[in-house]
Amino acid sequence: MKASILKNKAKKEKELLYTILSVMILLLLWKVASVIVDKEILIPSPESTFMEIIRIIQSPNFIVSVMNTLKRALIGFAIALAAGVSLGMVGGFYKPSYYLLRPLVLIIRAAPTMAIILLALIWLQSEKAPILVGFVVIFPVLYENVVQGIRNVDVKLVEMMDIYDIKKLDRLKDLYIPSIRSYLNSGMAAAMGLNLKIIIAAEVLSQPRMSMGTSFQIERVNLNTAGVFAWALITIMLAGILEQGLKIINKN
């Protein structure tokens, strides 16, 4: 037992070492590329990007921009999760509903993101349009996960529940929800990161007041490529925090 814990610890340390090494190599390549190109407007150096990050974080609008985007991301995610779980259950349990919903889900999934952003801009206010875009992109992912979770419930366990006359509500609670959860956990983590990226992309075009997407656009208009790089890194960090947060919630 002790040996296996030690082995595990050593393995984790090794993984961390490789990750650090990989980041160092990427930073080095970035630095080399910026030196070769030698134009801050095309590829800013890692140092200037780092300085930009500090400047952005210290600016008075930073927290408000991040919070506005984060709020949209969480609202979009919650709506998509609620719709994905409820419609996924209907589609998973009743084949006719699955086939009825299929064309809609296929259209939503296949429609180009840019088309959805543009339509959302036409239909909604700039503050709300990004939420719709995020919803449309991640809803099919969550819906499919729920349908698969129900479809792949062990038939032998269903048979056991038939024999023991387990009530519908208990079946849902004791068999289907735990089965869906294992499928949904991986889908939710992927959807959360994707949602944030899509919402920021929609914000770049819809330009709501003070948001991460708007900040991207401001940096681009000012030809401050280091600022765009800095916001991109902030987005990556935020997506990482959200995914880890979700993992912790799922674990508990």
Binding site: K156, E159, M160, I163, Y164, D170, D174
Partner: protein, 238 residues
Amino acid sequence: MKLEGVYKSFEEVEVLQNFHLTVKDKEITCILGPSGCGKSTLLNIMAGIIKPDVGTLREHKKRIGYVFQEDRLLPWKTAYENIQLVNKKASSSQLQSLIDMVGLTHFENKYPHQLSGGMRQRCSIARAFNFQTEILLMDEPFKSLDYDLRMNMVEALIDIWHKWNNAVVFVTHEIDEAILLGNKIVVLAKNPCRVEATVNIDVPQKQRSLEDRELINVRTKLINMLSKEKETSTYKSA
């Protein structure tokens, strides 16, 4: 419970043909037969999991307990919760006595993956008893256990049955299990499944021992029947 003139085929292979069987209350009926003779199909028809093509099931019981070949426990629930699942009204002391009875004391809070195969099967037996069944169907429930544990489980089952005193249908291909448990042993022949012979044992289960002269005679008789059936089916398939 009575099966009358039951026929069942799967993809044109006839498994049961004009099958008759009567299961009496307060008796253990052992169904003994070679592997693949249709024992599980028979049990599934009795449980109502599958419907016969032709034939009737009379005096059907409403509360049927079923111990499957596999444990069929919910992997995300502990042993205690799995047993509780089928009868949420059972008190914690009732559940605990079931757990003690099947020898899972101190393991009640473990998840199925933390238990051995035998322990998982004992848990599923406790679950069947918690259902307060009118008839208990058992499909080779001790198949995954080693010989000693199997004999312990047979003893435990006899104890529980004495307290509970209802009908048990116990499917097995182990002669020793059948002669220790059964009031009636139904020997099946295969292709298609039919009743080859019925052997009644009058000695009360608690007084039985594999060294008894009467049981030794029954044992020899059953071995002869099964080996004869094996020869016939080999001859048929050749």
